[in-house]
């Protein structure tokens, strides 16, 4: 399952699950993540699952690379890869105020406005990971006809709530932040709620997500 284990510096174990970016590989990453999390191994300071990697950071005065590597290799996995997976429905407003890149996308993809959004909405997405900024979900896979690269020059500020697409992925900006994804709408939903300390991220790795369209009026009234 883990294809290769190496060290990332002197304070992390780098577990590589292969080059494939797909749900099967990612579910393996999540399985290891959940099992390791439950074991609460002494010295581990963080677990960072991503598409096809799991990084296990540790305090080097408590444990070391060799010891942890062996523990990971010998890990007895419980079959709990996706027990708590949820389906989450996210409203999006695609008013031109929010869909910052849609005009350029119609040209670049040589598609009509409606075709792009039909392709986007007509799909259930899978959450590969959350990160970069607090609670930002990396979702996939978008339909092949709407895949394109990042902006050549990233924006200094992407508005909070923005929905971005790039390559086969889609994400939601949980905070205003720099970013280079193509923005096609905005959600009024609080994706990361720090007041919910137990479960601050609405969308977690392994969850499934669908999007639906709301009007600008509904958007404005959403949090009232």
């Amino acid at each position: 399952m883990i294809k290769n284990i190496t060290n990332l510096g002197d304070a992390a174990v780098y577990c590589d699950f292969g080059n494939q970016i797909d749900q099967e590989t990612n579910l393996n990453v999540i399985k290891y993540f959940k099992n390791l999390k439950e074991l609460k191994i002494e010295g581990i300071t963080n677990l960072t699952p991503s598409y096809n990697k799991l990084i296990v950071s540790f305090e080097p005065s408590v444990t070391n690379y060799e010891k942890l590597k062996n523990k990971i290799i010998d890990l007895k996995l419980h079959n709990k890869e996706n027990q708590n997976s949820k389906l989450i429905k996210i409203p999006i407003c695609i008013d031109e105020e929010f869909s910052l890149d849609i005009k350029r996308l119609t040209k670049e993809l040589k598609m009509k406005y409606d075709q792009i959004y039909n392709s986007f909405f007509d799909k259930e997405y899978y959450c590969y990971m959350t990160g970069f900024i607090a609670g930002m979900p990396f979702l996939g896979d978008t339909r092949e006809n709407i895949r394109l690269n990042r902006l050549e020059t990233p924006r200094v500020k992407v508005p909070k709530g923005s929905i971005g697409i790039t390559e086969q992925f889609c994400n939601i900006y949980t905070y205003e932040s720099p970013g280079g994804w193509n923005i096609i709408g905005n959600t009024p939903v609080k994706i990361f709620d720090k007041s919910n300390q137990e479960n601050p991220a609405l969308i977690n790795p392994g969850d499934r997500v669908t999007f639906y369209k709301i009007s600008k009026q509904e958007y404005q009234k959403y949090n009232e």
């Binding site: 510096g9 002197d10 993540f33 991503s50 990084i55 080097p60 970069f132 900024i133």
Partner: protein, 316 residues
Amino acid sequence: MSKNYFEILRPGINSTFQDLGRFNQHHIGIPMSGAMDKRNYLIGNKLVGNNNNISAIEFAYQGPLLKLQSTKVICAVTGNVNFKILRANSKIEEGECYKTFELNAGDQIDVISTNKSVYGYFFINGGFEIESFWKSFSINTMAQIGPNDGTKFSLNQKLFIKNKESKFHKKRIEYLNSKIEFIRVLRGTNFNYFSEEGTNNFFNKEFTVSKLTDRMGMRIEGPKIENIVETNIKSEGLIKGVIQVPGDGNPIIMLSDYGTVGGYPKIAVVISADHDRLTQLTPGSKIKFKLVELNEAENLYKLYEIETKNILNQIR
């Protein structure tokens, strides 16, 4: 809430509460944060008689001007810091780092600047009256979590302090913040993405710390490091010390408030023993990298730990 507080007469450039950091939240996108210079953090808390979990005020370049209201408190400053104590009776005293001092009602501490370094720390016995967030008192201004609503200090704010009566003990140590000549690194997981000339440049040429440096990361400038494979990778986890090289060839070193995932190839990772001194490098500083192997890095960290313990044991 206690009635004793510091009033912020000047917040300083980037003043926050920091402790040893926030653990086990990477999977939702929250980095470790915590004191940039861990050793100076530990020394200060030991001086004022606190345990390691009581948060300090961390400041960068220019620190805060604080006025104490209505009690007395035992304090210390660590780092390489110029500061003054302005007594209520208008007497001005030159501040001395690594030495406890007492502030009384109406006294002010003016943290003027960090000297040839970036970060300094201010400690009070008993600590501040603040709430932890995910078991840490560190402020993460990017995610806006931690005490003070996750924001840096602002003018006229009050910093309430815990009312802990304790007798003043004069404590001091001699400590010199040594400069770093070489930043020692291990090979990164994408080391072979770079041309031989690129990696030769990385290890043999000099780099300059750029102005684009903060608690999240440090950008450095120098010879171009040529990527011959792919300038983007699929986003994956990051930790403090990772050196990513984006398409423009200018490396970025991740510091305590790093983004938890990143998509640029990793050429190297700074060894843990060098983190404190790395974070103290001011923009314009010249640095060189030196390659070490894992067992060397592990031994160097053991040495760093022993050194830290020895310093802390001198404080009684």
